[in-house]
């Protein structure tokens, strides 16, 4: 029964989001939702590392930025000098291909960083992840020939998709991008949900809960941390690519630490290690600035509010909003509930 309730609420939620632009035609609000959605995708991907494996990765924006830059560069084309007169050049490629390359490349970076940095834990891991993001920012800033440095990559093409029977869709402007982001967010949600409810996800959670015990039952620590990093990096790269082709400009500040912090706040506030946490946290911190703006609050004060909120949440809601509500709900519903027992019917035949 609870399965049906879950499914129904998921579907009504999706239906609400799909029909939203039909009755909500404020373009600016749609813009806010698109940006919020992109950040939610990034936060969901961070949650895989932060929430499920328990590794406080503070370099996550690097994967987002790499996705944005790679997708932009592949779709714009480039020519760089590698040694002397030898040049490497790439003709502009279709955007969908560029986005695919971006996801793969971000995943590859995740693989390498995972291999290197999971040699260490705790404070060291945190500082390595911060350093990695900073190095990527400095490369983006200084490799003028490739990235244009502080001049930014401009005029990034938008996504064009030819769909058989429908014709070509141009993802320019608010409405198509809204649906694109919605689709990517649902995809990300589904991938992460499948992952954490599988053998792989249980291995990640086990590492977070009790690493020695996890290894004692045969879980290969590095393998699953790296797997989590690769998937997480790939999804963050996807968010970055969507972002780049929506705002159509990317500059090195996309790697700023403050964006990692934004993602961390979203995850921690919503509830790390829960599927809905980053979405709830993302909606709050994506839309809150606009709400505050309605009250004519200066951006600095808004950030002060963020900082203070973060501290208060750690003190008073250390698990985040979603787990707190879930516990309250359980306490309320638990009284009338019957004790769960072993399911008597096996849903699917055993092989």
């Amino acid at each position: 029964m609870s399965r049906a309730v879950t499914l129904a609420s998921s579907l009504s939620w999706v239906a609400f989001l799909v029909t939203l632009p039909l009755w909500m035609n404020d373009l600016y609000f749609l813009h806010v939702l698109i940006i919020t959605g992109i950040f939610i995708v990034a936060a969901m991907s961070l949650n895989l590392l932060l929430g499920y494996t328990g590794q406080l990765s503070l370099g996550h924006v690097a994967f987002f930025g790499i996705g944005a830059y790679v997708s932009s560069l592949v779709s714009l084309g480039f020519e760089i000098h590698v040694w002397g007169e030898t040049t490497v050049s790439l003709e502009p490629k279709p955007v969908w291909l560029a986005m695919l390359v971006a996801v793969m490349f971000a995943g590859l970076c995740g693989f390498m960083i995972g291999k290197i940095s999971f040699k260490v834990r705790g404070a060291y891991f945190v500082i390595v992840s911060v350093s990695f993001a900073e190095v990527t920012r400095l490369v983006a800033l200084n490799w003028l020939e490739l990235t244009q440095g502080p001049m930014a990559l401009n005029n990034i093409p938008y996504l064009k998709l030819g769909i058989p029977g429908v014709g070509q869709i141009d993802f320019i402007g608010k409405l198509p991008n809204y649906y694109l982001v919605l689709g990517v967010a649902i995809l990300t949600y589904v991938i992460i949900r499948r992952l954490v409810r599988s053998r792989a996800g249980r291995a990640m959670i086990a590492l977070r809960e009790n690493e020695p015990l996890a290894t004692s039952v045969g879980i290969d620590v590095t393998r699953f941390l790296v797997l989590a990093t690769v998937v997480s990096a790939g999804l963050a790269g996807l968010a970055g690519a969507v972002y780049a082709h929506y705002v159509r400009i990317v500059d090195p500040d996309v790697f700023l630490f403050i964006y990692t912090v934004t993602m961390v706040i979203m995850v921690v506030t919503g509830g790390k290690g829960t599927l809905a946490g980053p979405i709830v946290g993302g909606l709050i911190f994506g839309i809150l600035p606009e709400v505050l703006r309605g009250f004519e609050v200066m951006p600095e004060i808004q950030w002060v509010v963020y900082g203070v909120l973060m501290i208060l949440i750690v003190y008073f809601l250390p698990e985040g909003i979603v787990p707190a509500l879930r516990d309250a709900w359980r306490r309320w519903a638990g009284r009338s509930g019957t004790p769960p027992a072993r399911p008597t019917v096996v849903v699917e035949a055993q092989p």
Binding site: G54, L56, I116, S117, K119, V120, R121, G122, A123, Y124, V126, I127, V128, V130, S131, F132, E134, V135, L138, V139, L141, N142, G149, F257, I258, V261, V264, V268, M298, E300, I301, W303, V304, Y306, G307, V308, L309, M310, I311, V314, Y315, P318
Partner: protein, 290 residues
């Protein structure tokens, strides 16, 4: 050769303040197990206090430095008592999140208080540099270096020779044992955080007049302090001192002979290399991973 000597001199001078930054952070980590994200904000705070006393109030330059450091110590103590004391025993990630929150709040309060426009601080030293053959150095920078060296030495004396220092070292070795032996852990923690903050504020107060002051100067200072501390090994004061100088030399020589754009990247590349080959840092005395 002249060019190299000039680079080396520049690096030496810069290294002093880097070491100050690194020692403050490494003390806090070693004794409190807190990754202090507000470190850079204390640096910015020191610089802004310097601006306030020298440029707005018109106080004497030397007096202003002392005041800026004292205020940094006080602010550090307040942060420890208000934010960290109740988190004693919490895991490292939790305190890290609180410190990130504090960092964001502090930086934006600075922005509100001083606006985003960069401020410059006048120094009382003659602008004509001290010339030694083909190389030269400004009197302000020499002064900065001298004060940094004095502060590093003073910190070492404090830790090695005083009762408080003894308590701090005992806490560093084994917190429970120290508590059993009558060390007041609360006092040690407050003192440590205040001292570390004071050193960061000192670095800011000293470099403020050399460069300019703006609200986000702390970010790079924090990141460099992290690099220095990783380089030297978390919790090691000699490591942080030497790490500060190594980073300064790498940056200055890298900027001088490779590319000035990658100046700030040197530290981070160094971190990644160090962690690849010697994850505990160059001078760690104790296994500190995990």
């Amino acid at each position: 050769m002249d060019q190299f000597l000039q680079h080396a001199l520049n690096a030496m001078i810069l290294g002093g303040t880097y070491a100050l930054l690194g020692i403050g952070l490494t003390l806090i980590f070693g004794i409190m197990r807190v990754v202090n994200f507000t470190h850079g904000e204390l640096y910015a705070f020191g610089a802004y206090m310097m601006y306030m006393w020298v440029m707005l109030i018109g106080a004497n330059f030397m007096v202003s430095i002392v005041l800026a450091i004292a205020l940094g110590v006080a602010l550090g103590a307040v942060i420890e008592i208000v934010l960290l004391r109740r988190l004693r025993g919490a895991d490292i990630d939790t305190t890290m999140l609180v410190m990130i929150g504090a960092w964001i709040a502090m930086q934006n309060i600075e922005q509100l208080a001083w606006s985003g426009v960069a401020k410059s601080i006048n120094s009382p030293f003659p602008s004509a540099p001290l010339v030694m053959g083909a190389i030269s150095v400004s009197w302000t920078r020499l002064f900065v270096f001298a004060v940094a060296v004095v502060l590093i030495a003073a910190t070492n004396v404090l830790i090695q020779r005083t009762r408080l220092g003894k308590a701090m070292r005992a806490t560093f070795q084994d917190r429970e044992a120290a508590a059993l032996m009558g060390v007041r852990i609360d006092t040690v923690h407050t003192a440590t955080f205040a001292l570390g903050s004071g050193l960061a504020a000192a670095a800011g107060a000293l470099l403020g007049p050399v460069f300019v002051v703006y609200p986000t100067i702390g970010d790079l200072a924090s990141l460099k302090a992290f690099a220095i501390v990783i380089l030297g090994g978390l919790g090691s004061i000699p490591g942080a001192t030497i790490g500060g100088f190594i980073l300064a030399f790498m940056e200055e020589l890298g900027a001088g002979y490779i590319s000035s754009g990658y100046r700030d990247a040197m530290g981070f590349l160094l971190i990644i290399l160090i962690l690849l080959f010697k994850p505990t840092g160059l001078f760690a005395r104790k296994e500190r991973i995990g």
